[in-house]
């Protein structure tokens, strides 16, 4: 647990120390720091505003799909397949939703933990899955949207397959460490 303490201390100090360092280094190198900060900041506004249509489109589609009951239907279709390859049935909804919607996954994960307890096998597995993968759809929408990439190539396939690897390894590792 001492290593944990050190890591969380680094996380806490990291940003303020980094900011101080950049400003000190920039001043020594005679960079007009305030002017450059404002310039870079303007670009930030431009990017944030240009992201709005991409995220509105994606989030509306995902919430319509979820609210209509279509997502539940497809989850019930995929669940037997996931169970066949060894995914515990309680975890299946989380495994399916994790790459699609970050907020929905967080909701499902909290629900699993509330139902089975944080220190149960299922609770530990849900925590590990939630922490070890990211929302592929969101990352794709934001990064490609911000710079105007229209042809995504293999990016979605690669991202989703990587999620599958992540969830599989989470199941294997949690089973090895905490047993069933």
């Amino acid at each position: 647990m001492r290593a944990m303490g050190i890591i969380s201390l680094i996380s806490l100090w990291f940003i303020p120390v980094l900011i101080g360092f950049i400003l000190l280094y920039g001043t020594i190198k005679k960079v007009p720091s305030y002017e450059r900060f404002v310039e870079g900041g303007k670009e930030g506004i431009r990017i944030a505003v240009s992201l709005i249509p991409f995220l509105v489109g994606m989030l509306v589609a995902i919430s319509v799909f979820r609210a209509s009951g279509a997502l539940d239907f497809f989850m019930n279709l995929i669940r037997p397949m996931l169970e066949a390859i060894g995914v515990p049935p309680e975890i299946a909804p989380l495994a399916i939703i994790r790459p699609i919607s970050g907020s929905a996954a967080l909701g499902i994960m909290s629900d699993i933990i509330a139902t089975y307890g944080p220190d149960s096998f299922i609770g530990r597995l849900a925590s590990t899955i939630q922490g070890s993968t990211d929302t592929t759809f969101y990352v794709l929408t934001v990064y490609f949207g911000a710079v105007g990439i229209k042809k995504m190539g293999d990016a979605l396939k690669v991202g989703l397959l990587a999620d599958l690897v992540g969830i599989t390894s989470a199941i294997v590792i949690v089973t090895l460490v905490f047993g069933n």
Partner: protein, 197 residues
């Protein structure tokens, strides 16, 4: 492909609502989804403005170049298309470091800048280059030292040891990152073979 997936999600959703009688929920979802997206973007403004401002100073002071020179062997192997000492490298590295420390809101602006630089390297085309796909693959499997959100939820539900999942999470995330890089390589070689054949 995005166009088809996007349209299909909405169309299937609406057809389902007709059959299931969930039209009221779908109506609500349209406006809730749109509102959530705008709220998210407004929330992003503050971090984007702050971090892109700081990074502009770091870039002009030469800090990004220094950083990329330090980690050159690793990054040039992962991103062979990015030339040495190109600003893209500095941004890719800063994004990875921010992710490692769980600083998601600092990581996003840096990742966007990295993407922008990689687009320039790709002649400004609107299609994803090899390095962009590699970068995204690594980002979607985000390597994090401490999953803070998960720990706080576990604390809320009175876990006897909220941080006990840090180790398993780290191992799983490293596996998925390695998996992402291998899968990305596989798809790249498949693409280049197709182009030649």
């Amino acid at each position: 492909m995005v166009n088809v997936i996007w349209a299909a999600m909405i169309i299937i959703g609406i057809v389902f609502a007709m059959v299931n009688g969930t039209m009221d929920k779908v109506n609500e979802a349209i406006f809730e989804g749109a509102k959530e997206a705008v709220t998210l973007c407004i929330g992003l403004i503050s971090v984007l403005v702050f971090w892109l401002g700081m990074m502009r100073i770091a870039e002009e002071a030469g800090l990004l170049k220094k950083l990329s020179r330090l980690f050159k062997p690793l990054i040039s192997r992962l991103f062979p298309e990015v030339p040495n000492n190109h600003p893209a490298m500095g941004y890719i590295l800063s994004n990875m470091i921010a992710n490692l420390f769980g600083l998601g809101n600092a990581a996003t602006p840096l990742g966007i800048k990295a993407m922008e630089e990689m687009k320039k390297l790709n002649g400004g085309k609107n299609e994803a280059s090899r390095s962009m796909i590699t970068f995204l693959a690594i980002n979607t499997s985000s390597i994090t030292l401490i999953p803070t959100t998960v720990i706080s939820i576990r604390m809320n539900y009175e876990s006897a040891n909220p941080t006990e999942i840090v180790g398993t999470t780290l191992v799983a995330t490293v596996c998925s990152a390695i998996g992402a890089i291998l899968i990305d390589r596989y798809f790249y070689y498949r693409r280049s073979r197709k182009r030649k054949g």
